[in-house]
């Protein structure tokens, strides 16, 4: 198995997908899964569109990948995601067997890769299919945060408009 090397171009691509979530009135989080230097899936947040709070960027992309591949594809696949995976996604990434996770900004409220829990490394969570994985943050964190701030400002303004009408 080859080792993972960070490539800035993929994080910029993830930010583009996050912008797409923003344009679709979703919390702006985006990701790409990369295997052998090629993007095999894009994913963005879709909870509002799907009426399902679990449809985070990572879950969307994992579902797409598993339509064409078996789960062993993840053993040499890396994730680039604009925001630290939440506890749910952090656990999902263990269970599919991801190789390496690169994320933008941390997530103090839900983060499962070190901010709230260490789901990615906790040895108690090991099973025959769920293994720990490497995770690195602070990749284009400012852009990721800026997009989130923009989103919440817009949401609040919508709230005000709604009241005015």
């Amino acid at each position: 198995m080859t080792t993972s090397v960070y490539n800035d171009q993929f994080m910029l691509e993830a930010l583009k997908v996050a912008q797409e979530a923003y344009d679709n009135l979703e919390v702006p989080v985006g990701c790409v899964f990369v295997k052998n230097g090629k993007i095999i899936a894009h994913g963005r947040n879709k909870p509002n569109e799907t009426f399902n709070a679990t449809r985070h960027a990572e879950i969307e992309a994992i579902d797409d990948i598993l339509k064409e591949h078996t789960a062993d594809v993840f053993s040499d696949t890396d994730l680039y995601v604009t925001v630290e995976p939440c506890v749910m996604c952090a656990s999902a990434l263990r269970q599919v067997g991801i190789r390496h996770v690169y994320f933008g900004c941390g997530n103090d409220k839900f983060g499962g890769n070190g901010s709230v829990f260490d789901i990615h490394t906790d040895p108690r969570l090991k099973t025959p299919v769920s293994k720990h994985y490497a995770s690195e943050g602070n990749k284009h964190a400012e852009e990721a945060v800026l997009l989130l701030r923009k989103f919440y400002v817009r949401e609040n303004n919508h709230g005000k408009l709604y009241k005015l009408i």
């Binding site: 709070a53 789960a71 939440c86 656990s91 499962g112 099973t127």
Partner: protein, 333 residues
């Protein structure tokens, strides 16, 4: 609901999985106290406020203890300060310096380090020193006999339907089954198709269908409405009155699984436990714990303070019945 129907907690057919703060045993810190003559109380308190280090993190302890000796006699004691804040030598020299040796005779006592979170802790810890305790009624869930019977029946049906697999059922507040799904990881060759995730998908799918047929706006619904709405979709399409009824009282409208309960044969993994936080589930009832479970065994995700939603968790429901009929698993539930 009459109070006589309320079943005491020790007779519940399950146990609540409490947060570490709620379930911890007594931890103590040492503090200096002194007995004090009633008429000297004000002087001693002034001395404490002016010259002694403030009590930090012990706001739950009352400053004064009044011990009744007989019908007419009582004794007053005062907390001076934490032992870790100042040495006894330094304290005694301060007392001498301000001419209080007659009024203050320091002794060391143990105080509860933490404020009691529930009545059980309060009753167990209050003998050390009087504490303030405001009982939070939300920390004291109540079940009637009828409710417990309904809860047991849901779990029994779920286990009977499970055919030895892991399975989950989401129920609305009226007791209507909103979704019931098994773990399908093997069938779909998808490592994330756990029973809980499949159930949440089903609820989301039903809501999405509703929205598609009713219009582009997300239907605002009360927690108990969704299944009835689905059965009468055709009516909603044809009558504008009904569509109006959907959006009435938006303040009471529910969101995702708000107000719903979920029954699970096994303690869920981190992914499923967090998916239930995102979905705003109200209560979780599970039967058997799992090695990597995150609602009590490895973590207590439902009670973690930083999360924006918290739900109650009850475990051990029909545990023996489940153990007889469900395979034990070495992987995430």
């Amino acid at each position: 609901m009459t109070s006589k129907n309320i079943v005491p907690a020790n007779e519940w057919p399950f146990r609540e999985v409490l947060s570490d703060e709620q379930s911890r045993d007594l931890e103590t810190v040492d503090a200096y106290i002194t007995n004090v003559e009633p008429k000297e109380t004000n002087n001693v308190i002034k001395f404490i406020q002016r010259y002694l280090p403030p009590l930090e993190g012990l706001e739950h302890c009352k400053r004064i203890r009044r011990s009744v000796i007989s019908e007419k006699e009582f004794k007053l004691s005062l907390i001076l300060c934490q032992k870790s804040a100042i040495s006894l030598d330094a304290l005694e020299s301060l007392v001498r310096e301000h001419d209080m040796t007659k009024e203050i005779k320091p002794a060391v006592i143990r105080l509860s380090k933490h404020a009691p979170k529930n009545r059980q802790q309060y009753e167990a810890w209050k003998h050390l020193w009087p504490m303030t305790f405001r009982e939070d009624t939300r920390n004291d869930p109540k079940f009637t006999l009828e409710e417990l019977e309904a809860i047991k029946e849901h779990m029994k049906q779920l286990i009977d339907n499970s055919c030895g697999q892991m399975r989950a059922r989401i129920v609305d507040p009226s007791g209507k089954v909103m979704a019931e799904e098994s773990d399908t990881r093997a069938e779909t060759v998808h490592p994330l198709h756990h029973a809980v995730m499949n159930c949440i998908d089903t609820v989301g799918f039903k809501e999405r269908e509703m929205a598609r047929l009713v219009g582009s706006n997300r239907p605002k619904r009360k927690a108990h409405q969704i299944s009835d709405e689905l059965e009468t979709l055709e009516d909603f399409q044809s009558t504008s009155e009904a569509t109006g009824a959907l959006t009435e009282e938006p303040s009471k409208a529910a969101y995702l699984c708000t107000g719903y309960d979920i029954y699970i044969t096994h303690e869920p993994c981190a992914m499923c436990a967090m998916a239930l936080v995102h979905s705003r589930i109200a209560r979780v009832f599970y039967s058997v714990p799992t090695r990597t479970g995150c609602l009590g065994t490895v973590l207590k995700i439902h009670s973690h303070l930083s999360l924006n939603h918290h739900y109650r968790v009850y475990m051990g429901l029909l545990e023996n019945y489940t153990k007889d009929s469900v395979v034990e698993c070495d992987f995430d539930a």
